[in-house]
């Protein structure tokens, strides 16, 4: 009635001894009760144990192999458990077995990749053997895809930090280079906004230059003298011809040089500043710049 099941590979052989559970109606060639098991390694001490030790071996080695396939080498098993496995270097794995008897030092077995694969195949053959009818059955090892976090932990810290550190360095370098580059010259606004009446500039300051020509201050400015050459930019901004008497702002002061009909006069509303000398009428606030009226003929 005694049954013996043997699972062998090149470097190890697992022998299982037991009996069929007749009370459960098992056939004579089945094995329902494990009495002992023996794991024989080539050139290593022989391991023996009871059913709980075999269950612990399966629960530790198969998940370890599963993680190893994903490139995650992490230890399995707790110090209070009979079997523990941990990576011990490239291609080296340390299997630590603790005896249930007190005073016995744990046995350490170093396995290379080939021996670990042999052990995994032996345990797989045992787990999937249809002749084995254990009650309760052997626990199925949890086989699930690893999470992204677990995979990231397997990578070295330097490799994990390479991408974010490189990105930050690129951003800092670009910011530094752009700070060294000269600022572009300010471009005058091409859209004329309806200008509110210019605040009265303090004495001594040049008149404010706006996109919309403002009527010159003072009564004299409302009566330009003919003969002064004027030009206009595409945006309608009047520019005076450069001359020795021109101020740095480019605008002709009201009391200087030969008088001419300036654009300020042309754009002045009807009845302009000359009609109300004390309170100049502000230009209308329009959404679009008003169309300049036709240039009047220069007065003699």
């Amino acid at each position: 009635m005694k049954q013996t099941l043997v699972y062998g590979q090149q470097s190890c052989r697992l022998q299982l001894e037991g009996l069929p559970d007749v009370s459960a109606g098992q056939a004579g060639d089945a094995l329902g009760i494990i009495t002992s098991w023996t794991l024989v390694w080539a050139g290593r001490p022989e391991l023996e144990g009871r059913r709980e030790h075999l269950v612990a071996l399966i629960n530790v080695v198969l998940p370890y192999a599963r993680y190893l396939m994903s490139g995650v080498a992490r230890p399995f098993g707790e110090p209070d458990q009979p079997i523990e496995i941990a990576p011990a270097g490239p291609g080296d794995h340390l299997l630590r077995l603790r005896s249930s008897e007190s005073g016995v030092e744990p046995l350490e077995v170093h396995l290379d990749d080939a021996e670990l694969a042999d052990l995994v195949r032996v345990l797989d053959a045992l787990r999937l053997d249809p002749r084995l009818h254990l009650q309760p059955p052997l626990s199925e090892p949890l086989v699930q895809p690893l999470r992204r976090r677990e995979l990231l932990q397997a990578e070295p810290l330097a490799r994990r930090l390479a991408a974010p550190v490189g990105g930050l360095a690129a951003v800092a370098l670009t910011a530094g280079l752009s700070a060294l580059a000269p600022l572009p010259a300010p471009v005058p606004s091409r859209t004329a906004t309806p200008a509110s009446p210019a605040p009265s500039a303090p004495a001594g300051l040049p008149p404010q230059r706006t996109a919309m020509p403002q009527p010159p201050l003072g009564l004299d400015a409302a009566k330009p003298a003919p003969g002064t050459p004027t030009s206009a930019t595409p945006s309608g901004l009047p520019l005076t011809a450069p001359g020795p008497a021109s101020p740095p702002s480019g605008l002709t002061p009201a009391s200087q040089g030969p008088k001419t009909s300036s654009a300020a006069d042309r754009l002045a509303p009807a009845g302009g500043p000359s009609a109300l000398p004390d309170a100049p009428i502000p230009p209308p606030r329009t959404l679009f710049p008003p169309t300049p009226p036709p240039v009047p003929a220069a007065r003699p």
């Binding site: 090149q10 990749d113 080939a114 694969a117 195949r121 797989d124 895809p145």
Partner: protein, 180 residues
């Protein structure tokens, strides 16, 4: 004779990364076995996937979903096709297990082991140059004799641990890593 899938792992299609790893491991079995292509067709018939892969062209078309291929096909494989390919890979790895073990073992002289790795690397490089896009960095890394050794060893180790019927669940879960 298609075997039932374990309920422990949900059956879902593989990601592009998973298909890439699956095809590269199939390529490793071809590097270890000169008749690997024929063996795969024979294996698919033996495992009951004759309707899914009636000839080697159909098998090749499924493998061409690997984004590293020279002639890469768009779209994705469904879970039935990927499970069949994984099952074929497990059976091929089981068939080639002595060679895989010989590559991973440290019990023999280092010169012998180095010679085996050189032969494997040379054959795999030939297959990679023939079928994969050499502009991809993964392919360039695998082709490099020094920097690609870690990846080649990882693939051989994965094949050894996934060989046989017990390795199917492990290998499928491994190819679905990262929420794939």
């Amino acid at each position: 004779m298609s075997q039932a899938l374990s309920p422990s792992t949900p059956s879902r299609p593989l990601s592009r990364r998973g298909i890439e790893r699956l095809d590269l491991m199939l390529l490793c079995t071809e590097a270890l076995d000169f008749n690997g292509g024929e063996a795969m067709v024979w294996m698919s018939q033996h495992l009951g996937y004759g309707e899914l892969f009636p000839n080697r062209v159909e098998l090749w078309k499924r493998r061409c979903h690997n984004p590293l291929r020279r002639a890469c096909r768009r779209g994705s494989l469904d879970s039935t096709e990927t499970d069949a390919l994984i099952r074929i890979l497990c059976t091929m790895a089981d068939r080639l297990y002595p060679m895989l073990r010989g590559l991973l073992s440290t019990a023999e002289a280092p010169e012998v082991i180095d010679q085996r790795w050189q032969l494997f690397q040379s054959r795999l490089a030939d297959l990679l140059r023939e079928r994969m896009n050499p502009r991809r960095s993964s392919v360039q890394t695998l082709l490099d004799s020094q920097t690609g050794h870690r990846q080649r060893r990882a693939m051989v180790q994965t094949l050894a641990l996934g060989a046989g019927p017990g390795g199917f669940e492990r290998l499928r879960a491994c190819l679905m890593d990262g929420g794939a």
